[in-house]
Symmetry: C2
Subunit: 251 residues, 2 copies
């Protein structure tokens, strides 16, 4: 049977999601664990998308085919027993056999966590910005991202895609006492897109560019126009949504 | 002039507060930094109390004598510039010349942070307890700690003190979605006291002992009666209070 596995991970000590030579990735560690538990050397897991080195996931989803007789609760328990404490399995659900964690995802949500006050805590799980920011104008700028646009200005130049069009349905900063969190949801994301967007919004918040500049940057379709990418430790993949019809109801 | 310096630190990579041979302590790192900034090889700092290896501080206070002409804002800025990101100076205030960070403290507050849901995040800054706990009975048990008691049952056996009497003015658990925080305030604490108390309250929460047992454990004045010490990564020194009269008003 095919299952969707919902996991969370702290990305600090992984070279991102994607399996690669000579580096420890989240996909590698999980594949190795499933290999042991399922006694299958050819187990292949397919994630909803990649995350870069140091980027975290509150919710990442992958699909994998496992023997029909597998008890899902037991597999979850066993996986959590052998995975490092920086990877946690939250849910395993049966899906239809053609379900695909990447191609069937209809939306993805990210958060970017900013410490606005110097603190010794959470430094691997947030980015500390020592500059005073105006979040009201940053939210004004973020509103220009809503809707369907060509986001080439916010994509890494080295990329395999030709289509840069994304539909953003949420883009806003929420502020608490000593923290600010940027929430962004879209049907798809380009490589480095959230970190380039946040870097650009920081330029707005510092007063270096006007909020309306974000619209002009989009129009130019040139990565050089946007701000620098912010560091990975503040970024979280938070939710991946799928159509209900691919999830099998529990008996 | 004598100043009180209010700092926060993440204890994970320090062998506690206290200077010692062959190990990095918070006191050592701060002393070295002040030595550089004040160009004084004999700078001596006195903390409000020790914290053990791996224990954090949201607020620790130490006193130190610095040249009268020192600009306090500048010293704070310089200290934060050279200290590692796991130690942060929040405030430097002038005090009367006899003020003592340890002897003048009238109360200290600690928190113990417990993750009640498995998570890959914050594992160096919380203790994850995989067992389901009944916080209502734990709060019932905690109430027996309030007031003035002999806490020898909750003190490490190796200790330099003879007086085990402490007055506890707050002892309660606050619960949020996936976290529980124990708050305890007392005029003084014994070595290992908070971690032994929390370990005992966990036994209550697991149903191993009744809440009233806490009273009996106090009466026995024997460390063997209390629960095992919980790990250091959940413990925070949070507040140290002083009489107003020792703080010099700002001109």
């Amino acid at each position: 049977m095919r299952v969707f596995v919902y996991i969370a991970y702290k990305g600090t000590n992984f070279h991102g999601w994607q399996i690669q030579e000579n580096a420890i990735s989240v996909q590698q560690v999980i594949t190795d664990s499933l290999h042991v538990l399922l006694k299958n050397e050819n187990v292949a897991i397919v994630g909803s998308g990649r995350t870069d080195t140091g980027v975290h996931a509150k919710e990442q989803v992958f699909h994998v085919d496992i023997p029909d007789e597998t008890k899902l609760d037991k597999l979850k328990y066993q996986l959590n027993g052998i995975l490092p404490e920086t990877i946690v399995v939250n849910k395993i659900t049966e899906v239809i056999s053609e379900a695909h964690a990447r191609f069937d995802a209809v939306s993805r949500s990210y958060e970017y966590h900013l410490l606005t006050q110097k603190s010794p805590f959470g430094r691997e799980e947030n980015y500390y910005c020592p500059i005073l920011l105006d979040f009201a104008v940053m939210n004004k700028a973020a509103a220009f991202l809503l809707g369907t646009h060509d986001f080439q200005s916010f994509s890494k130049v080295k990329t395999e895609v030709n289509n840069f069009v994304c539909t953003v349905t949420r883009a806003e900063w929420n502020i608490t006492a000593n923290k600010a969190v940027f929430h962004i949801t879209a049907n798809r994301f380009l490589r480095g897109m959230v970190r380039a967007i946040v870097g650009t919004l920081l330029m707005v918040g510092e007063g270096k560019i006007a909020p309306e500049e974000v619209k002009k940057i989009l129009d130019k379709k040139n990565r050089g126009e946007a701000g620098r990418a912010v560091p990975p430790q503040g970024l979280y993949l938070c939710k991946v949504e799928y159509p209900e019809k691919i999830i099998k109801p529990h008996e």
